[in-house]
Amino acid sequence: MSSRSQRVNTGINSLVRRLLVKIPGEEPAAVEERESSAVDFVREILESSDSPAVVADVNQASDLIKKRLLQTNPSPEKALRFTNLYSRLLSIPVITQKWAVLYFLYQLSDHQQRTPPILTSPFKSPIKRRRNIEDVIPGSPNYGAKRNDDIPAEAFAPEGLKKLPEREGGQRDRKEEEQAFAKSAATQREGVALKTALLAENYVEIDPPETALLRDLPFTLQGLSSSHLPFSSELTLKLPSTLPVPIISILHTLAEPSLLYRGLASFIQSPGGGLLGQSLRAAIGGELRSYLGLVATLEGQIRRALASLDEREPRGGIGKAGVTLKRCVVWTREATMGLRLMSLISEESKSKKGGQLISLIHGFSSSHGDPMVGAFAERLLVHVTRPFYDMLRQWIYDGELSDPYHEFFVSEQDPNAINDTPDARNRGGASSVWEDKYKLNEDMVPTIITQDFAQKVFLIGKSLNFIRYGCGDSQWVEEYSKAASKELRYGDTATLETWIDEAYKTTMARLIHLMSEKFHLFEHLKALKNYILLGQGDFIALLMESLSSNLDRPAGAQYRHTLTAQLEHAIRGSNAQYDSPEVLRRLDARMLQLSHGDIGWDCFTLEYKIDAPVDVVVTEWGNRQYLKVFNFLWRIKRVEFALASTWRKCMTGSRGVLQGEDENVTKAWKLTRGVLAEMIHFIGQLQYYILFEVIESSWDELQTAIHKEGCTLDDLIKAHTKYLNAITHKGLLGAKKKHHGEVDENTFMVQLGEILRLMLSYRDAVDGLYSWSVSDFTKRQGADVRNDVQNRRDDDDVLINTPATTRRGPRHLPDSTPALGIDDSIVDEFPVLQERLQALGAHFKSRVCLLLGDLAYQPDVDMRFLGVVMNFNDVYQPVRKKSSRPAGREQGRSSARA
């Protein structure tokens, strides 16, 4: 180091020696003294500024030089040469501080060109010129101090820099360029210098003088009235009318920041609407403070300049002072931009709040073309978003909405208002804590976060809130919020995102865990499928068997205690007894609302009670769907049960009581059995389809959906809704036919209901036929006992012709006169029964054909499959139109099939 400073010292010495002029005849001692004082001075200056004022950049220095050369020379020749030299220089490795040397040379050339305009001005008197020189070249020792005054922008720059960072970089460059431009222009065209000088000479004094205006300017910039520039009202600045137009226009430019400042100052005093509004005001207040700092430095400059003014100069010597109105315009230009932007924001913020406000400012920072505006808005955003991030933090870590001014993009819903929304009406007025307590307000989502992200945030908070209030696990929430809570702020979007993702995962996992472990959601779903969707076959069979005699009675005669007793019996008697009591205790049997003429079958229903947190998934709507499906399945089951018992009766009967010789009766029975088998086939296929193709496959989908990794409660709810929809739709409960105008008549539900009713009446008719056959049989038995072989031969005759039998019958039954009436009725009944059976069977077939016709054109594959299964051997001819032909034509074929 010492060698270095030594080298510097010797360098300084030799430099001084080279540049000092020898005064002939001076004493050696004096020479020595002069030399040493010069050396001291040089060292002082060099030491006082040890850090370079410009950025150490080779390219910048070379650019400056190139620019200078281009400006001073009309031809680009010199600049070209410089470029060559410069590239050569770069290739030489010896020197490390190339830029510094270049910059040094640049500065020196600077000096060379600064002097000419003053010196060559022909209009200056020698005295004036001399004074100029004295002005420019003051005593050496205090020159350094003076120099600082000469370049006020430099002293001013660091202050301004700190306040308004957009000016960074630009400031110094621009200053250099301005100087360069002014000076080169002056040298290049001496005419301009001449004009300047002329102007300076023939300067018209203005009233008030520029110095006075300058003195008032700082006050004006702060929005205060001054003697020359009073504010006449809130938003008007009165300019003195005596001023010439150019000065007026300059003052106009200067008035802009003043007026903007006044407007903004009153804006930040106004009461803010909401936390974000307040923080916006605070942020703007901060910016205004730095603006005032700028004004203060400006004022300092003006004071100093005015103090050093030479009154004898033209224009009060203001041209030399370095501070003029024009310069003030330049210095306040960028601040004006900032003020303009802020007043724009403050104007627009009046109609906006919360997230929209952030979106507004973020719009400036992200999509405005001017990088300065962008940076400025970005800076504002940091302050403005603070309350927003506070709310966000509370929401995602505590699940609490602390939003007194409704600025957050999540809002709490008024429970009374919920029922009025169309969405709620779709679900039949069922309100749920999960769905309706909070609402995501899309308009309020600020653009700094994406919609996806907002959705996530919304879910996190909602889940936490739900865990706390719905699941009663506030302890976990508190622990979690203590452990995970972090300070969120604008800027580091990536970290924020990871934090939120983390929070999202934790909360969702916790919620699912609670749902499955504490509230047994999955068990409940399984139980619903087993009991309500008739998955547990043995239980249902037993229940139906034990209830059947009871349910045949009218609905009014059903009593809850019998039902529950039978339910209990069915549970005890089947595998259901091994199910957990948690599930079984929720199972209940009850009657639906009675309507006149209903019998027990129509009203009976099983119910599975779902309580608080789980009803988020199995909603009231879901319950109703389950009920619907249950009732439908129960009806099918009941028809199946009835048909099966009748079939059994027929089968056992055909071995005994139904054996008769009458061909007519045998044929009738044969046809009946055919139709009955058809019906059983139909029911069997329908049941198979619903239980296996519909319920089981949907159940499988539900299982995969809810056991997926990272499944959220929303996913669960969605999957469950989809499951129910699939069941009701494919299970022919909800699908509407689109081909016809009338809606009600054409649903599969209605069609199936009709078919099932037909089956029941058919079965009644079959029962009637059976009892007729039985009574006929007993009658014949009785006749057999009483009459001899001859009589039996008569009977054979009779069987060929039934009316004959009836006519003869009573004659051969001597003992019972009352039996006469019965006999008559029996004889009369058979054709009626036969006719009725035929009509019902035909009706049934036509109905089935219609149904198949509809099924064949369903978009859903499974439903088409049902049609194919039912009609696997093309017995039925599917009919598309509602107006079907009489089904008599098919009679032969269907009986052949049976």
Binding site: S14, V42, S48, S49, F82, L89, V94, Q107, S109, S140
Partner: protein
Amino acid sequence: MPGDESKQDKQASAAQARQVIDVFQEISTLLNADLDRQTLSICISLIENGVNPEALATVVRELRKDAEETKRDLQSGGQ
């Protein structure tokens, strides 16, 4: 021989230094900086040793002005 090598190195670097100064001098003439070769090399060495170029420029300017003044004084004194 290491001595020879170092000598050669020195010679090479000296040649390079001369080249640098040549280049800089040409630039200075382009810019009208009005520096003779010796002053320039002194300044370059100063800057190489960490002196602030801006300050150095001021110093040079100052010294020149001083010199001019003394010259003028001398002339006026001589008349």
